[in-house]
């Protein structure tokens, strides 16, 4: 495979990129999962689903915060990412998802139905869309290639 970003600098980014790729999917999966459990709660009023949503959002935020830090380092260290619009789109979408889900975690602390219907579920839809969109951009963002290149010298 050819190196499509020959100008990428070595250094910090080489280390953070694999870590980022390890962490990034966790919040995406959690936020999509929280949307599913919110839908289940709104259809059943069964509180277990509300609790699932709360844990999924909290877990997504915990790993999301670490991933956000790794992405920030990657951005600072890698001009290749900063140069392209896709890199920025990825950053904005992912950070946006985290902000929305942070608000969502607070809304989900309400004791019962109004934790989800309507505000919590609205935020879960928005957060899940942003996270999946961020994942979509990642497929074509330099950070992906960094990791692959390390595996295939």
């Amino acid at each position: 495979m050819t190196d499509v970003y020959p100008h990428r600098q070595r250094g910090v980014a080489t280390a953070t990129a694999p870590i980022y790729l390890l962490l990034f999917p966790i919040p995406v999966v959690c936020f999509v999962g929280a949307l599913a459990t919110d839908l289940a709660y709104s259809a059943s009023a069964y509180l277990m689903w509300l609790h699932f949503s709360e844990w999924l959002i909290a877990t997504g935020l915990a790993f999301g915060a670490l991933a956000a830090l790794a992405l920030l380092i990657e951005f600072l260290a890698s001009p290749a990412i900063r140069r392209g619009r896709l890199g920025w789109a990825h950053l904005v979408l992912f950070y946006g998802a985290l902000v929305v889900e942070l608000l969502n975690a607070l809304v989900h602390t309400i004791d019962g139905w109004t934790a989800v219907v309507p505000t919590g579920m609205t935020l879960s839809i928005v957060g899940a869309i942003l996270a999946v969109a961020a994942a979509g951009t990642l497929l074509r963002v330099p950070v992906t290639w960094v990791a692959r290149r390390e595996l295939m010298p």
Binding site: E54, V92, G112
Partner: protein, 440 residues
């Protein structure tokens, strides 16, 4: 990318729209008491209002009482004294109590809330708790140092002496000890009268206890297992209720229900009417829902969790039960929101001025769910013809100083000499208020 920005902005807008309204700021605080308190629309921001005073202790100072009264510490250095029970001979029982069992963590919110609540409680003495102390002393005189009457209880709260039986409401059972006024020790091991709902989840754990005037029945308050049924209806079996218990057989029935956390169970002097103070639900705004003082009508349903103050539906509860809401009756007298009343005593003494006769003293443990702290004092409410009238009068204050907590009042009682006794579980003190005119 522009779309993404827009979406984020909309989402933030939606979330912020849930934040507090101007309704709360313009709230007229003089309308929050009495039989028809103002009930603003429910609101909650991204976080519930949280304001917790830092615990600093008394440092040798005392609470404040109105002119014509004086207050002194009867016992200090206790370990979470939550209730007091004067005996007819002038002795005093002090109930030290701590819930020790941990609640299961079924959602991320629980450990956060547990931490907030523990901050409001300070260190809490540190010595052994969950026991009943005996303070001997002629009524009116300074009592001797306390002795341990009963040890190794399980979060006890309510106590009732009926003849030569002392009933103690642990959080998980009512126990009967052989004991009569004047004894310095209990006469043997307890007999369990009836199990009460407790763990594994045991949210509102204080079991208030009283006996009917003829001593034939016990009444015990069993608080709800949640704020607003957010742990499901199964966890609320026979909770948020006052039970009537036959002390000889242990048979019980639910006497009244829909009472979120009933405490201070007391029969109005010279009557068969049971009264209680009730802690209503949180997180519907700083001025909702008023806690209340009410006479308890047999068989009545007071709304929790489906509705509050009669038939105002709680939007958080699903499935809603319109039929039950229709049956809900409003309580008698609002004490304002989040004051956390835990003690109730009717004034039966003679040493206070006449207007106190038959009125209610209420120990208000204090709020967390309100930007302006509320409660943290003992109030007095005048009674006429067996009904509360007027607005509450601040009677014992000074538990807060510059936004810091020196103590928090809980159980209150009137002793045979007509003094008011107050348990202070954060100041770890038992206070006695006497009228200056009274000669010891």
């Amino acid at each position: 990318m522009k779309t993404a920005f827009t979406t984020v902005a909309i989402a933030a807008g939606v979330a912020l729209a849930a934040c507090g309204s101007s309704d709360q700021k313009n709230f007229d605080k003089s309308t929050e008491y009495g039989p028809n308190p103002t009930l603003p629309e429910p609101t909650r921001g991204l976080l519930p209002n949280m304001e917790i005073p830092k615990v600093i202790g008394w440092q040798g100072e005392t609470p404040t009482v109105p002119q014509g009264f004086r207050i002194e510490a009867l016992a200090t250095g206790l370990s979470n004294p939550r209730n007091v029970y004067p005996l007819p001979n002038g002795d005093l029982l002090v109930i030290e109590s701590k819930k020790e069992a941990k609640e299961p963590i079924e959602r991320p919110k629980r450990p956060v809330m547990a931490w907030v609540e523990s901050k409001a409680h300070g260190g809490g003495g540190g010595g052994p708790s969950n026991r009943i102390l005996l303070l001997r002393g002629e009524a009116g005189a300074k009592p001797a140092a306390p002795s341990v009457l009963i040890d190794h209880l399980n979060a006890p709260f309510g106590v009732a002496l009926v003849g030569d039986a002392l009933y103690v409401a642990d959080t998980d059972a009512i126990l009967r000890f052989p004991f009569k006024a004047g004894d310095t020790q209990v006469g043997g091991a307890p007999v369990k009268v009836v199990d009460l709902p407790a763990g594994p989840i045991n949210h509102h754990w204080t079991k208030s206890l009283t006996a009917s005037p003829d001593g034939s029945k016990l009444y015990v308050g069993v608080g709800s297992n949640s704020n607003a049924m957010e742990r499901g209806l199964d966890e609320e079996m026979n909770r948020a209720a006052i039970w009537q218990v036959d002390p000889s057989t242990g048979a019980f029935k639910v006497f009244a229900s829909g009472l979120r956390n009933p405490n201070g169970l007391t029969f109005y002097p010279g009557s068969d009417v049971l009264w209680a103070v009730v802690n209503e639900r949180d997180e519907l705004g700083p001025n909702l829902v008023p806690d209340y003082l009410t006479s308890v009508k047999p068989g009545a349903f007071y709304g929790w969790p489906f509705s509050y103050w009669g038939q105002h539906q709680d939007p958080r509860v699903r499935p809603q039960q319109p039929e039950r809401v229709k049956a809900a009756i409003p309580p008698d007298y609002g004490l304002s929101s989040h004051v956390a009343p835990l003690g109730l005593a009717f004034y039966t003494g003679k040493s206070f001025p006449p207007q106190f006769g038959g009125g209610a003293f209420i120990g208000e443990h204090g709020s967390w769910n309100r930007p302006e702290l509320n409660g943290y004092k003992v109030v007095f409410i005048r009674f006429e013809n067996g009904r509360p009238v007027g607005t509450p009068m601040d009677f014992v204050t000074g538990f807060l100083k510059d936004g810091q907590a020196r103590g928090r009042p809980v159980g209150v009682a009137v002793d045979p000499a007509g003094a008011l006794i107050v348990a202070d579980d954060v100041g770890n003190t038992v206070w006695r208020v006497t009228a200056n005119t009274a000669t010891p």
